[in-house]
């Protein structure tokens, strides 16, 4: 760590229409340090890095680089100053090739002025290979799994040879293996005396990789400290203002009757011969590596995708879904993994989104019963403790965790009895995570069946009564809680017999 900070931000204020995102925060990073930045959803983490990167303009405050005051009013300039970032939302051009995305905004030219494609593809291939990723860079990036896409984005940013590299929640989509690669990358950067900002909601990562950590709360700076001088409980306390111990400690029910029975389910190209059953009052985990086909299985059960063969029984009756309408009628609620693309109408109000699946029940001659609409919205805003100024707030303006709660509220509102949660806590802060876990507990206690898909092993292990493990579209094991062990699960998940 050097003596002067590479970048130093003082009293930064940022207002968005209706929201004070940053209320005068300080933040500095030294060369060769990995600086963790944590806080609840909506605390202002992404906002401050976007100010550093010239994406947003601060309302007041100052930025110094190597001790000199600078004005960063666009991204190009930030790049010149040696700043680079991997943003939270995957910002890739899905219609383009991997190589092109690797060099987006920075394409190399030949002497003739034309794009040097040879260099583009060779360099991409080489750089990715160094990171143990072997793929054809001429492929369209949309053909990659989200995890691989994230790795491309990371590799691309690192390749820029910047003096400060910012990672905004890089691990949300990654498997253990890729997280290892990422940490190796960060260590290499550190050796090169690069300053690094690391944002994550997985606190153990902060302890694994960071030297110092800064905590934000509601747009205000709370503390900056050496990681060695703080423990996880203290960190959480500073972050959410209360103690959360034993994240995964929830009550477990004695299971009831089979609610859902699945036999030999097959969807060509996605999964084969999947059979399992889920009982009332049970939390049934689904673990597998990213891309193993869990989402597809659940989508097919919900009715969103077509099945090739196999049968499903719900409460003892045969069930053949043709569209989500059938699944919903039978009381299935599905929380999709991508809430922005599949779960929410972002431009509409909280109220509208909560009621989205229930309008069929709250109308008279197809006229919406507005009293019920409002009272249901209020009920679930309250029940889920959704942080929103009013039920009329546009969902797009809520923070990630609160958006997730709105989607859950939608299915509660629809009186579902089978809940499928697909990666429910991706990008969610610890406080909100805990609330979602408590909610699953409540659902199970009320006799509902809960299916939990997660790529985050501690979470599935901690919450599930039983767990199915999927490897490349095949069910490799169904384990009871007493048989859960990390080693065993990972073995099944990677196809080792």
């Amino acid at each position: 760590m050097g003596d002067t900070a590479f970048i130093e931000l003082n009293q930064i204020v940022k207002d968005f229409p209706g929201v004070k995102a940053l209320k005068g925060v300080d933040f500095s990073v030294y060369p060769g340090e990995v600086h963790g930045l944590i806080g609840e959803n909506g605390a202002g983490k992404s906002t401050i890095i976007k100010i550093m990167m010239g994406v947003h303009q601060k309302n007041s405050g100052s930025i110094k680089i190597n001790g000199d005051e600078v004005i960063i009013d666009n991204i190009i300039q930030a790049g010149r100053l040696g700043l680079a970032a991997v943003y939270q939302d995957l910002n890739l051009a899905m219609d383009l090739s991997i190589g092109e995305n690797f060099f987006i905004g920075n394409l190399p030219k030949k002497k003739s002025g034309l794009v040097n494609w040879k260099y583009v593809y060779e360099e991409t291939e080489k750089t990715l290979k160094d990171l143990k990723i072997v793929i054809d860079p001429r492929k369209k990036i949309s053909e990659l799994s989200p995890a691989m896409q994230e790795m491309v984005a990371i590799a691309k940013t690192v390749h820029l040879n910047s003096k400060l590299v910012i990672f905004d929640e890089p691990t949300a989509l990654l498997t253990n293996e890729e997280v290892e690669i990422l940490f190796d990358i960060i260590k290499t950067l550190k050796k090169r005396n690069v300053a690094i900002v690391y944002i994550s909601h997985r606190l153990e990562e902060i302890f694994d990789i960071c030297d110092r950590v800064t905590i934000f709360k509601d747009g205000e700076w709370v503390d900056t400290t050496d990681v060695e001088e703080i423990d996880e409980d203290q960190l959480i306390n500073k972050m959410v203002g209360r103690n959360i111990t034993e994240m995964y400690n929830i009550g477990h029910q004695s299971p009831g009757d089979d609610v859902i029975r699945v036999k030999n389910l097959t969807r060509e190209g996605n999964f084969q011969n999947i059979s399992f059953d889920v009982k009332a009052g049970e939390i049934f985990g689904f673990f597998g590596l990213v891309g193993s086909g869990r989402t597809e299985i659940m989508r097919a059960i919900f009715g969103a995708d077509k099945l090739t063969s196999g049968s499903i029984e719900l409460n003892g009756k045969p069930y053949k879904p043709k569209s989500p309408i059938d699944g919903i009628k039978k009381g299935i609620g599905f929380l999709p993994e991508d809430r922005k693309e599949q779960g929410l109408a972002l431009a509409l109000s909280v109220k509208h989104n909560i009621n989205l699946s229930s309008y069929k029940d709250i109308n008279r001659f197809s006229f919406v019963d507005k009293k019920q609409e409002n009272s249901r919205a209020d009920k679930y805003i309250d029940k889920m403790s959704i942080k929103t100024p009013s039920r009329r707030q546009t969902v797009g303006n809520l923070s990630g965790g609160n958006q997730q709660k709105v989607v859950i509220g939608k299915w509660l509102c629809n009186d579902s009895n089978i809940f499928i949660f697909d990666e429910p806590t991706v990008g969610i802060d610890v406080g909100a995570k805990r609330e979602i876990y408590k909610l699953m507990e409540e659902l199970a206690a009320a006799g509902k069946a809960v299916i939990l898909i997660s790529s985050y092993l501690p979470e599935v292990m901690g919450l599930s009564d039983r767990m199915a493990v999927i490897y490349e579209g095949n069910l490799t094991a169904v384990l009871d809680r007493k048989d859960f062990s990390e080693e065993r699960i990972l073995k099944h998940a990677s196809g080792i017999k």
């Binding site: 693309e341 509409l348 989205l356 699946s357 309008y359 507005k370």
Partner: protein, 316 residues
């Protein structure tokens, strides 16, 4: 009332900006042309706006859903020719109108089928329908006007009720009905959800197939109403009726605040948008502005009013 004014000030009424722009233009015109605020001119104005106003309302449904309907003008032509040919052939007026409405609604539904089941982008699906439907109109009418409509039918558009033209009341009825549908019914809620995020709407159990049929069907139905009004007003079935109306209708909806990417738009906004464009044209005519300069001004004003709207939205 006070609440309303406050809401207005806070920019919470979506159509707020537009109302201000409209008022400003009305005041300007009233100052420069003493004829502008006469009863007669107002009557003319609403009469001139009613027909395109009805089309624009159907268009608003399509635009809220994230689609576009280029076939409105041609379907309007279908309504005009079919209803008048049937009347002339002796069918009772009432039946002729019903048949035209059914046919046009079906043409709209066919648009919906091409879009949903054929997965053809709305722009192309309705562009094809625009070309094909106009061809059909020309073919069955031999590109000729249809004359000899029953007197009672052609008189309808001439009637005034309480001093206002009958066309205005039809438009008003359409406005009220669609206002209720978009703001009070399940279909309205689903329409916005679908336009805002089709995949989320589907996964929430909304039947987006029938919804798509419904949306384009409504647009076709509105074209039928507009076509029948126009036929009554002109006492003739006109094969070229409605040519170019698609752009006017889209402009009205978008000036009224609808977004072509779907999920937003209001009936009242569209009504104001249609009025704004009509008032500019009417005012320009009253002031005796050179028609080409007027045309230029209309173009500029459409852009400027959308620009002002965007600015004010961003600053709230």
């Amino acid at each position: 009332m006070k609440k309303l004014i406050n809401k207005f000030k806070e920019g919470k009424i979506a159509e707020g900006n537009l109302i201000l722009i409209l008022i400003a233009i009305i005041i300007l015109l009233a100052i420069f042309s003493p004829k502008f605020l006469t009863a007669n001119n107002i009557k003319n104005l609403v009469r001139q706006t009613s027909i395109i106003g009805v089309v624009a309302i159907g268009m608003t449904f399509v635009i809220i859903s994230g689609g576009i309907d280029l076939s409105v003008g041609s379907i309007l032509g279908v309504a005009s020719i079919i209803s008048s040919m049937l009347m002339v052939s002796g069918l009772p007026i009432f039946l002729a109108i019903i048949v035209a409405m059914v046919v046009c609604t079906l043409l709209g539904v066919i648009n919906g089928i091409i879009v949903y089941d054929g997965k053809v982008p709305p722009f192309i699906a309705t562009l094809g329908m625009m070309t094909a439907a106009r061809g059909i109109v020309m073919l069955i009418s031999n590109a000729r006007m249809i004359a000899g409509l029953p007197r009672t039918f052609s008189n309808f558009a001439q009637i005034t009720i309480l001093g206002m033209p009958s066309l205005f009341f039809v438009w008003l009825l359409v406005i009220i009905a669609t206002f209720i549908v978009t703001s009070q019914t399940v279909i309205g809620r689903n329409l916005f959800a679908f336009g805002s995020n089709p995949e989320a709407a589907r996964l929430s159990g909304i039947n987006i197939r029938t919804l798509t049929y419904f949306i384009y069907g409504i647009s076709g139905f509105m074209c039928a109403i507009a076509g029948i009004l126009m036929t009554s007003r002109l006492s003739n079935g006109i094969p070229t009726a409605g040519t170019g109306y698609e752009l006017d209708a889209i402009a009205a909806a978008v000036v009224g605040g609808a977004s072509l990417s779907g999920g937003s738009g209001t009936i009242i906004g569209t009504v104001l948008g249609a009025l704004l464009i009509a008032i500019i044209r009417n005012g320009g005519n009253l002031l005796g502005i050179n028609p080409f300069i007027l045309q230029i001004s209309v173009g500029v004003l459409i852009v400027v009013s959308v620009m002002i709207d965007q600015r004010r939205k961003a600053s709230v």
